[in-house]
């Protein structure tokens, strides 16, 4: 059996299992709390795994391993930002959100403010961030199938995007949060298992001596010791000062973005209490941290055993580094058959990874559309639970269909910057609004709306006029040049600006509601009146 056939078989087994789960979950999904929050009945450990499954995208798995394999140490900078970010979520956001919100990020903001403008802003921001992230994953799926299954025609890639999109729509529309969460749990276990297996084999090959692995990687890369140091990709000496400031800007967006990502925030609602939300983040930090340590070995292992040249020849961005490593190490230990099996395994895991992440994103954006925009803005709260859930399912379908279309249109474009942009928007708009509303008594409607739009718009404008969109050989529009902002990452400007807009909007408006602040402060810290788990 060829590796392609085996990978397809393994992947179809994953699809069959997850469709079974979805069918089971659909029979348990009756109320709005079931659809949006999985009945709030997941344990801390389960939700922690799902957090890992939601967060560890193909970009982190294949992308970071690829960056390390090609450019060395700099991929590790990405991992560290992604991990440290979880402390912001743990210390300042997770428990308080669980105690004071219901289904979406906007619930916390709308608590003590004029609901319609605030929900509109939060809904727009949620859908924008999720679609950016979703689009990056969809285009990635098309590229991945080309590399792993040997599908190179544009129509073959388009068909893959349609397939991934269709599965994601089925998971979300029928399984709701319960189905999506279980898909993410299964994926997290497979991904951790696959990455751990390859890591142990790679380390075993080097006699469990990290230093000799690093030495071999540096030698094979052709870059020597510089391969083990920062500066191979971000803020290279050739890019000068702007490149180094860009690196800091990226670091800021990574570390502050996570706690403002809507698809991450809604995960805190799936557990019964704030203590379980805390436990989920602790589990999440453990899983994600270990995963990034494994990725480090995978990246350097690929450089050492496959070689940077062979990796770059297969894919310029290095996205096939991990699968190629799996094949090479399998061959070393178990012969040709072993190589085929491990390559197929990692390929199937990569697809499972994409599916779980896109499902989480579709759920977050459709929940926000139905709960924030439809139920509270258009219908002013006069809507039955049944109708709201129906609208959520329809919007999941529509958002899924739109992202399939955009994914096909953007095929072959360099859209990797969209992930970093999603983090920048989340850090610049959503995070200030959330933190101010949880901790600042004086904060008000004008402040929340200014923070969200200020952060969102400034991040978008800066990126549109940056080298990632025009005026550079790797830009989205190579032939045009309307770039005036020198950095690829807007965070260093847009994050402070978002916080500033939130402050300015607040002090320029007279509105403030002391008794509502008393309520949210007491509720967020003690859990009084927090939404309970539903029983079946």
């Amino acid at each position: 059996m060829s590796s392609e056939a085996l990978a397809t078989t393994l992947f179809l087994a994953f699809v069959a299992l997850t469709l079974g789960i979805t069918f089971w979950a659909s029979r348990q999904t009756k109320t709005a709390a079931d659809y949006y929050a999985g009945g709030r009945s997941f344990s801390g450990a389960q939700n922690g795994l799902a957090i890992g499954g939601d967060y560890m995208s193909a970009a982190s798995f294949l992308g970071i391993a690829g960056i390390i394999a090609l450019s060395g140490y700099d991929g590790f900078l990405y991992s560290i930002g992604f991990l440290v970010a979880w402390l912001v979520a743990l210390l300042l956001v997770a428990e308080l959100m669980r105690n004071s919100g219901k289904f979406t990020m906007a619930d916390v903001l709308a608590f003590r403010m004029s609901p319609r403008p605030v929900r509109t802003a939060a809904g727009v921001s949620t859908i924008t961030v999720s679609i950016f992230y979703l689009l990056a994953q969809m285009v990635g799926a098309g590229a991945l199938v080309g590399l792993l299954l040997g599908v190179t025609s544009a129509s073959g890639k388009a068909l893959t995007i349609v397939g991934v999109g269709a599965l994601m729509i089925v998971y979300v529309v029928f399984g709701g949060m319960k189905g999506t969460t279980w898909v993410q749990i299964v994926k997290a276990v497979l991904l951790m298992g696959g990455a751990a297996l390859i890591t142990v084999l790679v380390l075993g090959h080097f006699g469990f001596n990290l230093s000799s692995l690093l030495g071999e990687a540096a030698a094979q890369s052709g870059k020597g010791d510089a391969f083990l140091n920062a500066g191979g990709k971000y803020g290279t000496e050739a890019q000068g000062l702007a490149g180094k400031i860009d690196l800091i800007s990226l670091g800021l967006a990574l570390v502050l973005g996570t706690a403002g990502l809507p698809h991450i925030l809604i995960r805190f609602y799936t557990v019964p209490t704030a203590k379980d939300a805390r436990k989920s983040v602790l589990w999440g930090i453990g899983i994600i941290g270990v995963f990034y340590l494994l990725t480090l070995v995978l990246g350097f292992g690929a450089a050492a055993l496959v070689g940077s040249k062979a990796i770059a020849a297969a894919d310029k961005a290095g996205n096939t580094a991990a699968p190629l490593l799996a094949e090479a190490i399998g061959k070393t230990f178990f012969g040709d058959v072993g190589g085929t099996i491990l390559l197929a395994l990692i390929g199937a895991v990569a697809f499972a990874t994409i599916l779980a992440v896109v499902a989480g994103l579709t759920l977050a954006s459709s929940s926000s559309f139905a709960h924030d925009l439809y139920a509270h803005v258009f219908k002013r709260g006069n809507v039955s639970e049944r109708e709201e859930v129906l609208v959520a399912r329809i919007s999941a379908f529509v958002i899924g269909a739109v992202s399939i279309g955009l994914g096909i249109l953007a095929q072959g474009q360099n859209v990797a910057f969209l992930v970093a942009l999603a983090f920048a928007v989340a850090a610049s708009g959503n995070l200030p609004a959330i933190l101010y509303s949880l901790f600042w008594k004086r904060f008000n409607t004008a402040g929340a709306v200014s923070a969200i739009y200020g952060g969102l718009v400034s991040a978008l404008i800066l990126v549109i006029f940056s080298p990632v969109v025009s005026g550079s050989p790797t830009a989205l529009f190579k032939d045009a040049d309307f770039a005036w902002f020198p950095l690829s990452n807007p965070g260093i400007i847009s994050i402070p600006l978002g916080f500033l807009c939130g402050w300015l909007g607040t002090v320029l408006s007279k509105e403030h509601n002391e008794s509502k602040y008393a309520e949210i402060e007491v509720r967020s810290l003690t859990g009084v009146g927090a939404e309970k788990a539903t029983k079946h």
């Binding site: 140490y73 590790f76 900078l77 560290i80 930002g81 991990l83 440290v84 979880w86 402390l87 912001v88 743990l90 210390l91 300042l92 428990e95 001596n209 990290l210 230093s211 000799s212 690093l214 030495g215 540096a218 010791d225 510089a226 083990l228 140091n229 920062a230 500066g231 971000y234 803020g235 180094k244 400031i245 690196l247 800091i248 670091g251 800021l252 570390v255 203590k275 805390r278 983040v281 602790l282 930090i285 453990g286 941290g289 990034y292 340590l293 002391e514 008794s515 509502k516 008393a518 309520e519 402060e521 007491v522 509720r523 810290l525 003690t526 859990g527 009084v528 009146g529």
Partner: protein, 109 residues
């Protein structure tokens, strides 16, 4: 219950109570400085990665250099802070939060 007060005023009473103020202080005094600390520590790492590459490239043992050790220390500090917060919350925050929650739920019943 002798008085049937509006919910909001119950919340204001709790907010004004010394127990709640104690809970809020214990929460903020731990999490705010810690947030500043880990963000500073992380930014130091990023800035060194950008501007102090000769220092980051110094080999400590074998092929393991300062950059790698610094990176791994970020993992160690993240795991440690998460663990320390869980302990702090369990011992210092949860008991007061649970007691206040029961009291308010009695009052608003």
């Amino acid at each position: 219950m002798t008085t049937q007060e509006h919910d909001a005023s119950v919340y204001e009473q709790v907010q004004a109570s010394s127990e709640f103020q104690d809970l809020k202080r214990r929460f903020r005094r731990w999490t705010f400085p810690m947030t500043v600390a880990f963000l500073t520590w992380y930014l130091l790492y990023v800035v060194l990665s950008g501007f102090a590459r000769d220092f980051m490239g110094i080999k400590l043992f074998g092929n393991v250099n300062v950059a790698l050790v610094f990176g791994l220390l970020q993992f160690v500090s993240t795991f440690s802070i998460a663990w320390a917060y869980a302990r702090h919350a369990e011992k210092k925050l949860d008991p007061i939060a649970d007691k206040l929650r029961h009291e308010v739920e009695e009052k608003t019943r």
